[in-house]
């Protein structure tokens, strides 16, 4: 017979471990290709708080420069522009994806086996994400 867990215990457990305010999912960082010093990062940011989270800076120990970008296609022309901030709405999410908003990682140092991304809101570090590169194929 399965043990029955009193509802009160579940409730307490839920209270005891509140969800982190900002969560990253579906992280993908392109490996800088041969002869290139730029790559891009894509992910979904979820905001579990009841206030918007405004990310004003992203940094990475593996790259000298990280910019928040948006690719737009207007009149058939692809453009990439720097964004001042990424806003993750209260209780909602923000998707960084190919051909849309993304992180541009520039001037790679030795990226080695993976990339770490630090998301800042003003002077506060709000999220740190470690992304290990998948094993090379073949």
């Amino acid at each position: 017979m399965r043990p029955v867990v009193p509802a009160a215990v579940l409730f307490m457990a839920a209270c005891g471990s509140p969800q982190p305010p900002l969560v990253a999912a579906g992280v993908e960082v392109t490996r800088p290709m041969p002869g290139r010093h730029m790559s891009a990062a894509y992910l979904v940011l979820a905001n579990n708080t009841d206030g918007d989270t405004r990310i004003t800076r992203v940094s990475s120990p593996q790259f000298a420069s990280v910019q928040m970008h948006e690719t737009t296609i207007e009149d058939g022309v692809a453009r990439m522009r720097e964004l001042e901030a990424l806003v993750v709405p209260a209780g909602g999410s923000l998707t960084l994806e190919r051909g849309g908003k993304h992180l541009m990682l520039m001037q790679a140092d030795d990226v080695g086996k993976g990339v770490t991304l630090h998301f800042h809101s003003g002077d506060t570090l709000v999220l740190s994400v470690d992304y290990p590169f998948p094993e090379e194929r073949g």
């Binding site: 392109t30 290709m33 041969p34 002869g35 910019q67 058939g76 022309v77 692809a78 453009r79 990439m80």
Partner: protein
């Protein structure tokens, strides 16, 4: 029914079935749903550039096979690799389906300053075998892009870095070296799977 009559009936049935198939085909001629076809196709302008091996290349390189031509640059981190991945995936899927002929994938650099043949070689090779990279003198690249209505322009992203705004279109060039169709903005594998066989059949 005698054996002779049976054969006649079978032949008539087969002919009727074939007629129905033909009628259905002519009722709904296959048309590209996503690409815009140029009527008539336009000859490519003359140009004098180099391929990813550093060998001279001109307009005649586009003769003899279908080409899917994209204009981009190797430092482009977002839309260029995404587009080339879509084209390579579409070609692989068409090959699996037994499509003949298959198009060659061509990347023309809009950043020849950084895209040397060596850089282009490693870059196009990353997306598979048989792709062609083209680079060279900026003025010669302009001859090609201006002649095809392709726009590009350098944009600074920092003190000593830049990106290049560029047309997102993919052009289909027929085996006579003529620009014959264009795929616009958002590139999706399905669009190529549907339209390429139709375009290549008609051309």
């Amino acid at each position: 029914m005698s054996p002779g009559k049976l054969i006649v009936a079978a032949v008539l049935a087969a002919a009727l079935a074939a007629g129905i198939v033909l009628a259905l085909r002519s009722q709904s001629p296959a048309v590209p749903l996503h690409a815009t076809v140029l009527e008539p196709p336009a000859a490519l302008p003359e140009f004098d550039l180099v391929d990813h091996n550093g060998d001279g290349i001109g307009r005649s390189a586009f003769e003899g096979q279908w080409d899917l031509v994209f204009f981009g640059f190797t430092q482009c981190p977002d839309i260029c690799p995404a587009t080339l991945q879509v084209l390579a995936a579409a070609k692989a899927e068409l090959e699996d389906r037994g499509q003949v002929p298959l198009p060659r994938i061509v990347l023309v650099s809009v950043d020849p300053e950084r895209d040397t043949p060596d850089v282009m070689s490693r870059y196009v090779g990353y997306f598979g075998d048989g792709h062609l990279g083209i680079t060279g003198e900026l003025a010669e690249i302009r001859k090609l892009t201006d002649g095809l209505g392709i726009y590009f322009r350098k944009q600074a992203t920092g003190a000593d870095d830049y990106t290049v705004d560029h047309s997102a279109a993919v052009l289909a060039v027929d085996p006579a070296g003529r620009f014959s169709a264009v795929f616009g903005g958002q590139h999706v594998v399905e669009n190529y799977l549907n339209d390429l066989p139709v375009i290549m059949e008609a051309g």
